[in-house]
């Protein structure tokens, strides 16, 4: 029973890793908007980079999520 409780707590703690992903993705989109408002004509060409950057930052949050799922159901 204690092992079970520890697993649940661990899964919950693992989700804290998503904080970092939230900060990262927010930072990317915020910086993009800052740049896009300064120079709107260059914004369209950077949409691809924007989403790749967001995906790369998000992957680390996903890693935390996968760890949580593994702890809970693994």
């Amino acid at each position: 029973m204690e092992l079970d409780a520890a697993k649940q707590i661990g899964a919950g703690l693992a989700t804290l890793g998503m904080i970092g992903a939230g900060v990262g993705v927010g930072n990317i989109f915020g910086s993009f908007l800052t740049g896009a408002l300064r120079n709107p004509s260059a914004a369209a060409s950077q949409i691809g980079n924007l989403f790749v950057g967001a995906a790369l930052a998000e992957a680390l949050g996903i890693l935390a999520f996968v760890l949580g799922i593994l702890l809970k159901y693994g």
Binding site: A55, A59, I62, I69
Partner: protein, 263 residues
């Protein structure tokens, strides 16, 4: 309650069982036509059918249907050209195939069938296939010069061992993150959808008992609108993850195709 378990939707079920066989390399293996197979087959037929339909009556000035296909085609063509350069055309078939297959599996999984891309085995296979192609092209084109990939130019000699180690580990992590990103996004999105849909049922059941449970009705309505909003978001994510997979494939291919010049 098994029906409300958010993970239950990812269960592999055997539709046609072929029994257990002994394979020479893998040992005891269960052979079956599963719901995952079925969904993949549907995705494959959908992609081939769609592209056949789109190109069946080709005109110089594209009609509505043809321009949808041309937009998808042109997008990946632009992508491979802008990232890999003039040699991007050679790798276009692979990138476009992977993109269309992942896109079809994501979108069909969201709307119609079992979500194949929420199985780690499938996304890991796609990731390994990509990285195997990258390594094969690296060795075929540059021979042992492929290892220059891990040695960036203009690094002080003192720092070199550390940098090489970091580059090597980050290269090894590429297929893992490629697989986990797609898997995690699909799994997470569908679990979130299922959890909010479960709230609707649970709060509705509470309201059916009357009394104070009636307060569950606004909660259920809120959850239902959340499900609608999340479905819209998941449509975007389904497309975006296929696109990101294609972009990263291009970037990894570019590393070995244009090895040494430009970073």
């Amino acid at each position: 309650m098994a029906a409300n378990d958010p993970i239950h939707q990812f269960q592999i079920e055997k539709l046609v069982d072929f029994g257990v066989v002994n394979l020479p390399l893998f040992g005891r293996t269960e052979l079956a036509f599963t719901n995952s197979h079925l969904a993949m087959t549907i995705a494959f037929v959908a992609v081939v059918g769609f592209l056949t339909l789109v190109t069946s009556k080709m005109q110089v000035v594209p009609g509505r249907l043809q321009s949808v296909g041309e937009t998808l085609f042109g997008m990946i063509d632009n992508l491979s050209e802008s990232i890999i350069g003039h040699e991007g055309r050679k790798f276009f078939p692979f990138i476009f195939t992977v993109f269309m297959f992942v896109l079809a599996m994501n979108v069909l999984g969201l709307l119609l069938t079992f979500t194949v891309t929420s199985q780690l085995a499938i996304t890991a296979t796609l990731g390994l296939m990509t990285i195997a192609l990258v390594i094969a092209i690296g060795f075929l084109r540059h021979g042992l010069g492929f290892f220059k990939l891990f040695v960036p130019s203009g690094v002080p000699i003192v720092l070199l061992p550390v940098i090489v180690l970091i580059e090597f580990v980050s290269f090894l992590l590429r297929p893992i993150t490629l697989a986990l990103r797609l898997f995690g996004n699909m799994l997470g999105g569908h679990v979130a959808l299922k959890v909010f849909a479960g709230f609707v049922v649970a709060l509705g059941a509470m309201a059916a008992n009357g009394g104070l449970g009636l307060f569950g009705i606004p909660g259920a309505a809120l959850s239902l609108s959340m499900v609608v909003a999340l479905t819209a978001l998941e449509c975007l994510v389904a497309f975006l993850q296929a696109f990101v997979f294609a972009v990263l494939t291009c970037i990894y291919l570019n590393d070995v195709v244009n090895l040494g010049h430009g970073h």
